[in-house]
Symmetry: C2
Subunit: 410 residues, 2 copies
């Protein structure tokens, strides 16, 4: 039947990634590949009670069709949280609940992108976002990321050179995969550029509340003056990914169309889940739960950084994130992290990571990889990084040190 | 920001439908517009226990990321049910769980349709499917429906005349909106035509188990010899729509791509919900529950048919469905059911229905409407149809009787 498939599918090949995750699921390996929260931190008993409470409170009506935009009481709570935790003044009418942050990305892509339309992504960027965007067949422009997030000078040059660009996609807080955070000054500059060049910004911030050191920075949407910023986040990292519940904050015109698109995609999110989350928030301070998570993740991050400091060869560089899930490791130029993974790291060190190439829209950068530190214990992290460091001592011995971030090829 | 929206959004206008559902939510009106199950028939206590059981059994792991294809135990049960209830021999590997039947439609559209690609729909058809397909900007060919489902002679002529057609979308069982069922002979003929003209068939069958009289017919996929039929169904009508859980049955190549697309759309369906449905099925015979539903819906259908027989003018025709949710009413040619609704039926009779135009891809047929009988009591149905009949006696008095199904304009 392949002759009947659409181009968006024929152009797509995720077999590399499938193999990585298949190998990383092998219990013989220590996997830093996934982006999983620690299962020990889920408030499972509280959530079980929240489901019961929600069903008891609403009765049979909870099982009926409800609104596409999602439970008003939960949207109201999120609107308040956007003000208190992200500096974004909004209303429940400007919040929509989605199937995780991933559906929010898909919806925004569907709203904006005709085939061939131009957009900006970070290089590297969240590979799940690339998978979503890929199905709309855009033209990508890749902007490098440094310790303060997306390089704004390069963004300016790119917008100037390509006035047809419609969308900037960014993960500003504890960026997936580098862990870096966009500075307040750059957030303001990004909004100014969006205004100047008539571009929308998709601010994807699922890790925002997972800060282990330093002070929070207002969301990009805080600086939005023309309704150009669409903010998305999720309960996946702060409560549970199996809830599949995220949210979008957008101004009226954009929200109206997003509701229409979601209605055509899946009618609405499961009302029972939304009511359970709402019941959980009614009886628990989620910030207490987040503080517990952050304490545990801070210890894991510190364990990974300490092990990297101890075991990595001098010609290997890595980021030092203040929060989130990931550390980004850059190998000397010329080393292909994917080939190294398959030929040496997996078979000999029994360690898995996500190689750079599938995290760049251009697929051109090869000498880097992503490590996750949230899903393993500090002891396993130390063991795995030691194994990885030892094998990299051998594999990278002949190659000199290189700049922190790989150069991007347009 | 409208200048930045994609064509798929700019071409879309659902404001008519929004207004209809807004008016029909007004408690002063009797609404036959929605496609809602009867809230009194939800097994709410059993489902509440199923959530508890699922969370107790799986522990914290139930809250972690899981597979895109969905819980294997539930897919296994559905594979067995496909054999016993639809004559379809399949395996758990060929079943994927989705966010209701609606996401299954969106996924198949995304798999097959490039902008401008040609497809066949019934005229009339499920308006939610049109909303999903519309976002892929296909070229529609509309085939009329009679008492035995899609007209196969017209399908043959259309496929012959337009060899570029890739997809046939059909609701074969208790069709939304007409309530008619595709005969076994036509199912076989449709598969033969798909083989001959290299076309896929999307068999959308959410009402299949809701039969109130007559004998079940095997699914179209039962007759599939070349992996051309993608079967989709849902728990929305037999258990609860708020679970947002449907399923797709497809052969290997198609399934592989659908899993990749779903991963990019929302990663996976909520594992807690899937585990709860699985726990419900472990401890209850869903066929007992379906028998209870069918008994109640049979009474409602009979009440509506009896009231139609009694109160409708002679120049108004309607279908007599053997199951499902809907009856289709055809007015004399020349009457615009939407205009009639807004000008007379809603303001004077305080009754709502869904006018024909938004249920035809062509938007050309106007003299018909859809009635739902599942969500109201027999008494309210009788009252509403009496009011509707009385007002139609006046409104259609001058117009002669017409054939059952409206003629289709290509």
């Amino acid at each position: 039947m392949k002759n009947l498939f659409a181009n968006r599918v024929l152009n797509n090949d995720n077999s590399d990634l499938d193999n990585i995750f298949k190998n990383s699921a092998n219990p013989a390996n220590i996997s830093f590949a996934g982006g999983f929260p620690d299962v020990a931190l889920f408030p499972d008993t509280d959530l079980k009670h929240a489901y019961q409470t929600a069903i008891d409170q609403d009765g049979p009506a909870i099982f009926q069709y409800s609104s596409t935009q999602g439970l008003p009481a939960l949207r109201q709570k999120l609107a308040q949280r956007m003000a208190s935790h992200a500096g974004v003044m909004t209303t429940a009418d400007n919040v929509m609940l989605t199937q995780g942050g991933q559906q929010a990305i898909d919806l925004v892509a569907k709203l904006l992108l005709n085939r061939g339309d131009s957009m900006v992504v970070e290089g590297p960027t969240y590979m799940g976002a690339l998978a979503a965007f890929d199905t709309y067949e855009p033209t990508y422009y890749e902007i490098p990321v440094d310790d303060h997030g997306m390089n704004i000078n390069q963004l300016r040059q790119t917008l100037q050179a390509h006035p047809e660009i419609k969308l900037i996609y960014t993960v500003p807080d504890f960026h997936n995969p580098t862990g870096t955070t966009l500075s307040a000054k750059r957030r303001q500059a990004m909004v100014a550029l969006a205004n100047q060049y008539d571009v929308m910004i998709l601010e994807d911030s699922p890790y925002r509340d997972l800060r282990y050191s330093g002070k929070a920075i207002p969301a990009i949407k805080h600086y939005d003056t023309e309704g150009r910023v669409i903010f998305i986040s999720s309960f996946s990292k702060i409560l549970s990914p199996a809830l599949r519940t995220g949210w979008i904050v957008a101004d009226d015109d954009v929200m109206h169309e997003l509701i229409g698109l979601k209605s055509a995609i899946d009618v609405q999110s499961p009302n029972i889940t939304l009511a359970a989350i709402n019941a959980y928030l009614d009886t628990h301070d989620i910030d207490d739960h987040i503080a517990t998570i952050n304490q545990a993740y801070r210890i894991k991050r510190d364990a990974m950084l300490k092990a990297l400091d101890r075991y990595m060869p001098a010609n290997v560089q890595y980021t030092r994130p203040a929060g989130g899930f990931f550390i980004w490791v850059t190998l000397p130029a010329g080393i292909d992290a994917k080939q190294l993974l398959n030929d040496v790291v997996l078979p000999q060190a029994h360690v898995a990571y996500v190689p750079a190439s599938c995290q760049f829209a251009s697929r051109q950068v090869k000498n880097a990889f992503r490590l996750n530190f949230t899903s393993l214990t500090p002891e396993t992290i130390t063991t795995g990084i030691k194994r990885l460091g030892n094998i990299l001592q051998t594999s990278t011995a002949a190659v000199p040190a290189k700049a922190l971030m790989p150069a991007i090829q347009f």
